[in-house]
Symmetry: C2
Subunit: 168 residues, 2 copies
DNA sequence: CTTGGAATGTCAACAAGGCTGACGTATTGT
DNA sequence: ACAATACGTCAGCCTTGTTGACATTCCAAG
């Protein structure tokens, strides 16, 4: 990998293979940190990352259906069902039959589910908050821009749809 | 979490729970995109993400030992060994006995291993490059700052140690 | 020279969380 | 009446992580 003059003529140094590689490694290591706190919390509770994800998105979109959750999480119904069954059996999630379409199950967190969600999300947000504070608002904006540009089309659709419901 | 005036006095809006939550979701969706291309490539070759990670870091630090790789990847030797065995058997990785300490195995990519590494890393870098180009250099700097701030201490050590060997 | 401990390999067993395929059931819309 | 949809479930498989136990090899200290 010879490192000659910038190919674009000006400051395209940030597109160097080496820069890209560092970005890749940063994603790898950061993701580990990102998931570590919830993982630790769930470890004692007979649950894992999959449960956390389901809880997160049910909290985020109360009343969401099973198929919608499948699409967001990008897993099969069998995988999702295993997790949902556990969450329902332990009383963290409630599945209400749809009023308009009674084939659908609308998912809600129970009080206990909401409490666990808060515990998990507090831990995860705390790390995120610390990182944001360290890096500052400009960096945060860039962080989100790059991540959004890295998503698949479909993921981006889900991401943006979720965002509408919340604050922005 | 009531949403009154910004507690800091000025623009601390980026530390809102909602902003943090969007960052969390951005990480989730972006990481899916991040791994999708290599996953697709490996899917036909009897290998998975674990093999990719090993190949990546062996390429990055040729001659690294098994224990060092264990520390970087954060997995047990049994997990790593399963992957390494497959890579060695298929002729993608070579394990040379250490000269100074003959208990150690120093890991290198073979020609075939390097070729696969390039294929995987080309795909992954291409997505990263597109995201970088879309977001621009300022955003990229912020992206990396936030990710670095999100890492565990130990991960950050590994991350920086790797970076020394390369460019930057 | 012996021996403790480090580095590595390996076997076995297990768990989480993905997947496919197949099938059943309720419900809806045509 | 019937096809399609939404969901649940059983069975089986794969990858990738885990522990625990044990053997080997070898460096280095006593």
């Amino acid at each position: 990998m010879a490192e000659g003059a910038p190919p674009g003529g000006q400051s395209l140094l940030f597109l160097t293979d080496e820069q890209l590689r560092k970005g890749i490694e940063a994603m790898f290591f950061a993701y580990r940190g990102f998931t570590s706190d919830p993982d630790r919390i769930l470890e004692g509770k007979d649950m894992g990352r999959a449960h956390h994800r389901a809880i997160h998105f049910i909290h985020r979109s109360p009343g969401t259906t099973v198929s919608n959750l499948m699409a967001i999480l990008g897993v099969t119904k069998q995988s999702l069902n295993r997790v949902l069954r556990a969450l329902i059996e332990t009383g963290l999630v409630e599945a209400r039959v749809g009023r308009r379409d009674r084939r659908e199950r609308h998912l809600y967190l129970t009080r206990e589910g909401a409490a666990l969600e808060r515990e998990l999300s507090d831990a995860q947000r705390e790390r995120m908050r610390a990182a944001y504070r360290t890096a500052g608002p400009v960096a945060v904006a860039g962080f989100r821009q790059v991540l959004e540009a890295m998503m698949d089309e479909e993921s981006r659709r889900h991401y943006e749809t979720l965002a509408e419901g919340g604050g922005q």
